[in-house]
């Protein structure tokens, strides 16, 4: 049977802590930018706003939820539904 290190998850969690305040400032700044952009005429809103919101969501997932530092299995489990979800949303939009 394959040897499993029972301390593996604890080791994953003992990573150096990210600068949470910096992540928060990034999230707040991008939110302010998103609102400001809606008042600027001529900006292609959909791609810009979707990109900004994905950047914010990624920051929360990677740093606040520690996906960047935790075991890769957690990221795989979380990302698997997107294989179904992305086509679903795209089909609905067409």
């Amino acid at each position: 049977m394959k040897h499993v290190d029972p301390n593996q998850d604890v080791k994953q969690r003992s990573h150096r802590k990210p600068n949470y305040l910096l992540v928060f400032v990034f999230l707040a700044a991008v939110t302010a930018l998103e609102v400001a952009i809606t008042y600027i005429p001529g900006v292609p809103l959909a791609p810009v706003l979707v990109a900004l919101s994905l950047a914010k969501a990624s920051a929360v997932l990677l740093y606040f939820m520690h996906l960047r530092f935790d075991h890769w299995w957690y990221a795989v489990i979380f990302l698997v539904p997107f294989v179904l979800v992305i086509p679903l949303v795209l089909v609905v939009r067409v």
């Binding site: 499993v4 998850d9 949470y20 928060f24 809103l45 919101s53 606040f64 075991h71 299995w73 539904p81």
Partner: protein, 193 residues
């Protein structure tokens, strides 16, 4: 570094089963909210252009900022108990509860203004039906999170968490951050686009 204790529940992968379970639950939540968002986009596509003009963007931007603040306080609570700081754990959890309750309070004020002031109801239009369904489901998740947070505060006051055993705080944090991620997406799709 803290050593694992026998109270940890490890799977054959070496991962903590409680945390693994929460990530699997969050994966199912991704599917739930994606279905709701898909339904909303369908309804929005069949609504007149500018159907979201009744929505208050500045107020919701403030609410988004409040939820982001609550994500910071949750992660600071986890960081505090990882360092064994019980007082900071309690303080940051209380701040999370207050911020979450404020978010929900503002959402209720928004609903009241829309329904009573603007006549914008779930039954009034396709966009209204989609809006109240999606934001209502999200608000319900915040409400569940508030109950969970209050329970954690009681546990923290009783001194149930230590630097070595704080998985329940971490799991709550995962849930709360996910609710934040969902709102980040909803804010863009519903209010800004």
């Amino acid at each position: 570094m803290s050593q694992p204790t026998t109270t940890h529940k490890y799977t054959t992968t070496g991962l903590d089963s409680r945390k693994l379970g929460m990530w699997i639950f969050l994966a199912t939540e991704v599917m739930l909210f994606s279905s709701l968002i898909s339904g909303f986009l369908q309804m929005q596509a069949r609504s007149p252009a500018g159907a979201n003009h009744v929505l208050n963007i500045p107020l919701t931007a403030v609410n988004t900022f409040i939820l982001i603040c609550s994500s910071l306080t949750v992660v600071m609570a986890l960081s505090a108990i990882q360092d064994g700081d019980q007082k900071k754990l309690r303080t940051f959890l209380l701040a999370t509860l207050a911020l979450g309750a404020t978010f929900l309070g503002i959402q209720i004020i928004e609903y009241r203004h829309l329904i009573v002031g603007e006549g914008f109801t779930p039954a009034g239009s396709l966009f209204g039906a989609g809006f109240f369904t999606v934001t209502g489901f999200h608000g319900f998740h915040v409400f569940i999170g508030l109950i969970w947070c209050a329970w954690l505060i009681l546990q923290a006051v009783a001194g149930r968490f230590t630097a070595a055993e704080h998985m329940r705080v971490e799991i709550f944090g995962l849930y709360w951050h996910f609710v934040d991620v969902v709102w980040i997406i909803l804010f863009t799709l519903i209010y800004l686009l």
